[in-house]
C-alpha cells in the first residue's frame, strides 16, 4: 500500500485524464469511420480484423508501456538521453537498409505485428537529448555556439526524414524552436518564421486585394497602439511602415513573381492543390504550359489530383456536419469512405461530420487545455531538463494538432502528419504515449533537480 502511494505521489492526474479522454475519442472516431451496421462488433474486436480492434490493442500496449514509464526512476531518462539519441539515429539509418515501403515512403521498420517508424519515435530521443544538452551546467544558451549545437541536434533527424521523403515529419522537428525560445533563443527568429509562414499561406488562401487591406489595417492599428512611443521615437514608425511595405510587396509581387517566373506552373498548381484551391492561371499561355507539362509528369499529376481530392472531400465531410453534427455513425461521408486516409491523417473529419461544430470546438478545447496544462507543468519544474522537455512535448503536440486540423479544413498543405492520440496507428500512439508519460514521470519528481 505504501509503495503504491509513493508511486502515485506527485502524478498529475489531470494529464492522465486528458490523455484517457483523447485516446477514447480517437477510438470512437476510428470505430465510427469503419463500422457498418450489419457487422458483428465483438467478432471484429476479437478477430483483430478491423483498424479499431487493432487500435484497441495498441491502446492496451500503450497503457502497459505508460505504466512501466511511471514506475521508472526519473534519473533513468537523464542518464540515457544521449545514448537514446544515438540509438534513435541508428534506427533511422537502419530504415535505409531494412526499410519497408508503405505509401511510397521507405521509413518503416517491420516488427511483425506492427510497423515502427523511427522518424516518429526519434522525436522522443531528440526531446530528451535536447533537454539534456540545455540542462548541462556548462551550457550557456545565450552563446551562439550553444544555439548552433542545439540546432544540430534538431537538424540531424530532419535531414534523415527529408531523405526518407517524409517532409511532414521533418517539419515537426522545427517545433523544437518553441522550447529553445523559452530557454533564451531570441524571439525574433520565432516571430519572423511564424509571420512569414502566415503570410505565404494567407497569400495563397486569401484574395490578394483583401489581404492587402487586412495588412494595411493591421499596420494602422499597430501605429495607433504605439502612437505614444512613436511620438518619442520616430524610428518605430519607420519599422512598422517598413514591415508593412515588405509584407505587402511579398504578398502582391514576390509570391506571384515566384509562382509565375521561378517555379514551374505544375509546381504552383501542386502547392495550390495541397490547400484544396483550384489553380487558375492568369493567361492562356501558362495554362497551355501546364497542359504540356502534365503530359510529361503523369505520376505527379495523379498525386496532385489525389491531394486536391483529399482536401475537398475532407472539407465536404466537415462542412456537412453543420452545427450539431449528423450524429454518431450517421455521417454519410465518413461512412461512405469518401475521405481517404480518414482513420489516420483525416480522422478529424469524423469528429467534424458526426458531431458538428460543437464537437469539433470541444475537441479543440480539450487539446488547448492539454497544451496549457503542459505549459503550466513546465513552468513549475525546478530542473531545466524537465522544463525543456515539457516545452518540447507541448511544441510537438501543438504542431501536430494545428497542422493536422488545419490541413483537414484547408488551411495548411497536406503533409501527412497524424492527430496526436486520435489517429489510428501504433507508431504514432505509442510515441505520444511515451512522450507524455515520461513528462508525467518527470513532473512527479518536480522537486528533484535533474541533470
Amino acid at each position: 500500500m505504501r509503495n503504491q502511494a509513493t508511486i502515485s505521489k506527485g502524478i498529475d492526474w489531470m494529464m492522465i485524464w486528458l490523455y484517457v479522454i483523447l485516446v477514447t475519442i480517437g477510438f470512437i472516431c476510428i470505430f465510427s469511420v469503419e463500422h457498418r451496421s450489419q457487422e458483428n462488433i465483438l467478432q471484429n474486436i476479437t478477430g483483430l480484423k478491423k483498424n479499431y480492434s487493432r487500435q484497441l490493442l495498441f491502446i492496451g500496449i500503450s497503457i502497459v508501456v505508460g505504466s512501466f514509464i511511471i514506475l521508472t526512476d526519473s534519473k533513468f531518462f537523464t542518464a540515457t538521453a544521449n545514448i537514446g539519441y544515438v540509438f534513435g539515429i541508428i534506427l533511422m539509418l537502419a530504415t535505409f537498409v531494412i526499410g519497408k515501403d508503405i505509401n511510397g515512403s521507405k521509413s518503416w521498420i517491420p516488427l511483425g505485428f506492427f510497423n515502427l517508424q523511427p522518424v516518429e519515435t526519434c522525436k522522443i530521443f531528440t526531446a530528451l537529448a535536447l533537454s539534456k544538452y540545455l540542462s548541462r551546467s556548462e551550457t550557456d544558451f545565450n552563446k551562439t555556439r550553444s544555439q548552433l549545437i542545439a540546432a544540430v541536434f534538431i537538424l540531424i533527424p530532419v535531414s534523415f526524414s527529408l531523405m526518407q521523403n517524409e517532409t511532414g515529419l521533418a517539419l515537426v522537428y522545427f517545433s523544437f524552436l518553441i522550447p529553445l525560445y523559452r530557454e533564451g533563443l531570441p524571439p525574433l527568429y520565432l516571430i519572423i518564421g511564424f509571420s512569414f509562414a502566415f503570410l505565404i499561406v494567407a497569400t495563397i488562401l486569401v484574395e490578394k486585394n483583401t489581404l492587402a487591406i487586412i495588412l494595411t489595417a493591421i499596420a494602422v492599428f499597430m501605429i495607433y497602439l504605439t502612437r505614444k512611443t512613436i511620438r518619442r521615437d520616430k524610428s518605430v514608425l519607420l519599422v512598422i511602415v517598413g514591415i508593412w511595405l515588405l509584407a505587402v510587396s511579398v504578398q502582391r509581387f514576390a509570391v506571384p513573381y515566384i509562382f509565375k517566373h521561378v517555379m514551374h506552373p505544375y509546381q504552383v498548381e501542386r502547392i495550390m492543390n495541397t490547400f484544396g484551391v483550384d489553380y487558375v492561371p492568369d493567361d492562356n499561355s501558362t495554362a497551355k504550359k501546364i497542359e504540356e507539362q502534365k503530359d510529361d509528369i503523369n505520376i505527379k499529376k495523379l498525386k496532385k489530383a489525389k491531394e486536391n481530392y483529399n482536401v475537398k472531400q475532407s472539407k465536404i465531410a466537415i462542412g456537412s456536419g453543420g452545427f450539431w453534427g449528423k450524429g454518431f455513425l450517421k455521417g454519410t461521408q465518413t461512412q461512405g469512405d469518401f475521405v481517404p486516409e480518414q482513420h489516420t491523417d483525416f480522422i478529424f473529419t469524423s469528429v467534424g461530420e458526426n458531431f458538428g461544430f460543437w464537437g469539433s470546438f470541444l475537441l479543440v478545447l480539450i487539446y488547448l487545455s492539454f497544451l496549457l496544462r503542459i505549459v503550466f507543468i513546465a513552468e513549475r519544474q525546478r530542473s531545466t531538463f524537465s522544463r525543456v522537455y515539457a516545452y518540447g512535448v507541448a511544441a510537438i503536440i501543438f504542431f501536430h494538432v494545428t497542422v493536422n486540423i488545419c490541413m483537414t479544413i484547408g488551411l495548411a498543405p497536406v503533409i501527412g502528419i497524424t492527430l496526436p492520440l486520435l489517429s489510428y496507428g501504433g507508431s504514432s500512439l505509442l510515441t505520444f504515449t511515451i512522450l507524455i508519460f515520461i513528462l508525467v514521470r518527470l513532473d512527479a519528481d518536480r522537486q528533484m533537480v535533474l541533470r
Partner: protein, 701 residues
C-alpha cells in the same frame, strides 16, 4: 507568450470551423449529393382477370445471374461455363465487359433472364459460385394463357420524349411503361405508386446501408388489379379460328358494352416479348408484312360492304321514305342513275325490306339511299347527306368510339364538305356516291365499330362504348371507367323499325346469305358482307364479312368477323366463324363432334393472300443484304428501335406510314388504271390499304 500562440492558433482553427460548418451550407449539399442515394422501389403491376376471374396477365419473377468481377478469383468457373453452355473464352470476355461497364467491385449482369432449367442447375451448385456470383430477381409480366397479345400489349423502356411528356410523374430513365394495349391505356392504374428508399452510398458508388434505418422512406403501393369483360376461352377459340388468316373478330356484350373477345390476326404470343429473346422477337414482329403488332380490331378500317345495308334500312324507315312494305324489283342492276355502269344484283326478283336484307339486294338499298338523299323534305343534297351522316354518327360510325384499347381509328363517313372539296360544290349528287349505299366506296369502318353497330341494333337503339375493363379493384381513382356506364341513344327509332330489321337479319342466317352461321337452338340475327377491295390499285380477293347478334329475343352477344382477302362471299368464311364463336359463348362449349371438326378445318384453312408471302420473301432477301446503309435508306432500320413513343403513334404506325409512302409512289405511276377522281385524303392512315379504291361496280351478297 507561448500559451498565447497556442490560444491564437486554436482561435484560428475554431474560426475556420465555424465558417465551414455553420456559415457555409454548400458542403452539406455536396455531401448529400455524393453520400445519399434515392432508390426507387417498383411495386408489382396490377393483375388482369377475365370475366370468370381467371388471371390472364400477372407477374412472375425471373432471374439474372450477376457477377462481381473482383470476387470471382478462385471460384469453380468451369462448372459455371458448363451450366451456361459457354466456353472459357466467352466467360473471360463477359468478365472483361462487366469490368469495363461497371468496374470490378460492382455487380453487373453476367447472363440476363435465365431459363428455368439453368436456374435449377445453378441453384444446385450455387455454393461453388459465391460470393462472385448471385441470382437477382427481376419481376416480369406473365401470361398464363399466352393469348390476347394485341389487347394486353407489352411494356417497353421509356424514351426521352416519353420522359418529357410525363415529367413529374416519377418516371426515370430505364423504367418500363405500357407501350401498347391495356398496359398502355391503363398505365396509371397498373403501375401503382413507387416507393422511395434512402440509402447511404460509398465512394465507389455502392449502396451500403439504409439512411437512418429507413426513417424517410416511403413504401411502394402495388398497382391495382382489374377485371375484364373478356372471356379468355372465347378469345382463345377466336385466335385459333383466325389462324392462317388476316382479319379480326370482335364480340361485345350488347347490354354492358363489355368486349368479350377481340381477335386480330395474325397476332403474337405475348410471352415472346418478356424473355431473353425479346429484342429478336420484336424485330421479327415489326418486320412482318402481315403486321402482327397492328390491332386490326380497332386500328384497321374496311369498307363495310353489305353489312351497311341494315343501317340504310333503319334510316329509310325512320325517315319515312320507305315502309316495311316497300318493294323494289331488281331486273339485274340498279338503273336509278341511268344505264351507264350500273350496280348489279345477283338475285333478280322483287323484294320487300325483309327479303332484301335476307338476300342482300343491292338495287333495293341503292334505291333506299337514293330516296333518303333525294328526299324533298331537304332543300338540297348537302342537307340531306348531312342528315344521313347524323344517323350514321349516332350508330357509332365515322368517329372514334373511345374504346379502352389504344390506337383506335376513326374510319370514314363521307360528308357534304368532303364531296364539295373533291368535286366542287354543286357538282355532285347521289349518283356520284351511290356505292356508299351498299357499303362500298367512300365509307370506312373498323371492326369494333361494326360490332358496336350490331350491339346498337340488338339493343334496339342504344349502345354503350365497348370496353375491355369492367372494374378496377380498389376503385376507379382516375375516372377511367365512368364513360363506359352511359347509354348512347342519339336518335329515337321505334322498336317496330328494329323488329323489321331483326326479321331480315334472322332470315339471313336461316335461309339467306349467312346460313353458315347457323347454330342449333339459337336464334341468330346476322348480315354478311362481301367487300371488294384494291391494293395498290390492283383488285384483290374479296374480304369476307359477317356481323350479327344472338339470341334475338335477349341479345347476349353482338359480334363481327372479317377475313381479309379470303375470296368468295361473306357467308363462306366469316359466317361459320361467327357461328362457332356464338355457340362457344352461349353454350359454353362446342360439344358436337361435327362442329369440332369444322372448327379444326376452319383453323387450318390458310387464307393469307399470296402478296404477304411475296413480301416476306422480298424482306428476307433484303435482310440478306447486310449493308445496313441500304436498310436505313429503305426505312427498315429506323423503325426497329425498341423504345416507346407512347402518345399516339406506335411502331406499327411508322410501318404503315412507310408503306403508304411507297404506295403513293406506286399509285402515281399507275394513275391511269384507276378512276380519275378518287382522292384518298378521306382516310386516316389505314392499313391494310386494300379497300381504298371506290368500287362503283357490282357488289353483292
Amino acid at each position: 507568450m507561448i500559451s498565447l500562440i497556442f490560444i491564437a492558433m486554436c482561435c484560428i482553427i475554431v474560426f475556420q470551423l465555424f465558417n465551414l460548418q455553420v456559415l457555409n451550407s454548400k458542403y452539406s449539399i455536396m455531401a448529400d449529393e455524393q453520400g445519399k442515394f434515392r432508390k426507387v422501389i417498383y411495386p408489382d403491376r396490377g393483375i388482369l382477370y377475365d370475366r370468370k376471374g381467371r388471371a390472364i396477365l400477372q407477374n412472375t419473377i425471373i432471374y439474372d445471374l450477376m457477377v462481381t468481377p473482383s470476387k470471382v478469383k478462385g471460384l469453380d468457373t468451369l462448372a459455371l461455363c458448363k451450366i451456361l453452355n459457354i466456353d472459357t473464352a466467352e466467360f473471360r470476355k463477359r468478365i472483361v465487359t462487366a469490368i469495363i461497364k461497371n468496374k470490378s467491385y460492382r455487380a453487373s449482369v453476367f447472363e440476363a433472364l435465365l431459363s428455368e432449367e439453368k436456374i435449377a442447375k445453378i441453384n444446385e451448385s450455387m455454393y461453388k459460385f459465391v460470393p462472385g456470383f448471385y441470382l437477382q430477381e427481376r419481376p416480369v409480366r406473365d401470361y398464363p394463357f399466352d393469348a390476347g397479345g394485341n389487347i394486353l400489349g407489352y411494356l417497353s423502356e421509356v424514351d426521352s420524349s416519353f420522359l418529357l411528356r410525363h415529367a413529374g410523374e416519377g418516371y426515370q430513365i430505364g423504367d418500363y411503361a405500357g407501350k401498347t394495349g391495356l398496359e398502355r391505356s391503363y398505365e396509371k392504374v397498373l403501375m401503382g405508386q413507387r416507393g422511395i428508399e434512402f440509402w447511404k452510398r460509398d465512394n465507389k458508388n455502392r449502396l451500403t446501408d439504409r439512411l437512418e434505418n429507413g426513417k424517410y422512406d416511403t413504401a411502394a403501393v402495388a398497382g391495382q388489379n382489374m377485371h375484364m369483360a373478356l372471356d379468355i376461352e372465347l378469345q382463345q377459340l377466336g385466335e385459333k379460328l383466325m389462324e392462317n388468316k388476316l382479319g379480326s373478330i370482335v364480340a361485345v356484350d350488347p347490354k354492358s358494352g363489355g368486349i368479350l373477345a377481340m381477335i386480330s390476326s395474325p397476332t403474337f404470343k405475348p410471352k415472346l416479348l418478356t424473355g431473353s429473346e425479346r429484342k429478336k422477337h420484336i424485330t421479327e414482329l415489326l418486320l412482318n408484312p402481315a403486321l402482327p403488332l397492328l390491332n386490326r380490331s380497332v386500328g384497321a378500317s374496311y369498307s363495310p360492304g353489305s353489312t351497311f345495308k341494315t343501317l340504310q334500312a333503319l334510316i329509310g324507315l325512320h325517315e319515312g321514305v320507305i315502309t316495311t312494305k316497300f318493294i323494289v324489283t331488281c331486273t339485274g342492276a340498279f338503273y336509278g342513275c341511268g344505264s351507264g355502269n350500273p350496280m348489279k344484283c345477283l338475285d333478280r326478283g322483287t323484294f320487300d325490306l325483309k327479303n332484301a336484307i335476307t338476300i342482300s339486294d343491292n338495287t333495293y338499298f341503292a334505291t333506299v339511299m337514293q330516296r333518303i338523299i333525294n328526299n324533298p323534305k331537304y332543300p338540297n343534297v348537302d342537307s340531306s347527306l348531312a342528315n344521313w351522316d347524323r344517323y350514321i354518327y349516332a350508330f357509332g360510325l365515322g368517329h372514334k368510339l373511345g374504346v379502352d384499347v389504344p390506337s383506335e381509328k376513326r374510319g370514314n363517313i363521307p360528308t357534304p364538305a368532303y364531296f364539295n372539296k373533291t368535286y366542287g360544290a354543286g357538282h355532285w349528287n347521289y349518283c356520284t356516291f351511290r356505292s356508299v349505299s351498299i357499303g362500298q366506296g367512300e365509307v370506312d369502318v373498323t371492326p369494333i365499330q361494326v360490332a358496336n353497330e350490331m350491339a346498337y341494333i340488338a339493343n334496339k337503339g342504344w349502345y354503350i362504348i365497348p370496353h375491355i375493363v369492367d372494374s378496377i379493384e380498389g376503385g376507379d381513382k382516375f375516372d377511367m371507367l365512368s364513360k363506359f356506364k352511359e347509354q348512347h341513344k342519339a336518335i329515337d327509332i321505334s322498336d317496330s323499325v328494329f323488329e323489321t330489321v331483326h326479321d331480315g337479319m334472322q332470315g339471313v342466317v336461316e335461309r339467306g346469305t349467312g346460313m353458315g352461321a347457323k347454330v342449333e337452338g339459337i336464334t341468330i340475327c346476322g348480315k354478311t358482307g362481301t367487300v371488294e377491295n384494291y391494293f395498290r390499285g390492283v383488285k384483290q380477293e374479296n374480304h369476307s364479312f359477317f356481323c350479327g347478334f344472338a339470341p334475338r329475343e335477349n341479345p347476349k352477344i353482338a359480334i363481327m368477323c372479317v377475313v381479309e382477302n379470303s375470296g368468295h362471299f361473306g357467308g363462306t368464311y366469316a359466317a361459320p366463324i361467327v357461328g362457332l364463336m356464338i355457340e362457344k359463348y352461349l353454350k359454353d362449349s362446342i360439344s358436337d363432334p361435327k362442329r369440332k371438326v369444322q372448327a379444326e378445318a376452319l383453323s387450318k384453312l390458310n387464307l393469307i393472300p399470296p402478296r404477304i408471302y411475296k413480301e416476306l420473301r422480298t424482306r428476307d432477301s433484303i435482310q440478306h443484304v447486310k449493308d445496313s446503309a441500304y436498310l436505313i435508306e429503305k426505312g427498315f432500320i429506323k423503325i426497329l428501335k425498341d423504345t416507346m413513343g407512347l402518345e399516339d403513334d406506335d411502331n406499327t404506325d411508322d410501318l404503315i406510314k412507310l408503306k403508304e409512302a411507297k404506295q403513293k409512289e406506286d399509285q402515281q405511276k399507275k394513275k391511269d388504271s384507276s378512276l380519275p377522281k378518287t382522292n384518298k385524303s378521306n382516310t386516316e392512315a389505314t392499313l391494310p390499304e386494300e379497300q381504298k379504291m371506290p368500287a362503283v361496280k357490282d357488289s353483292s351478297q
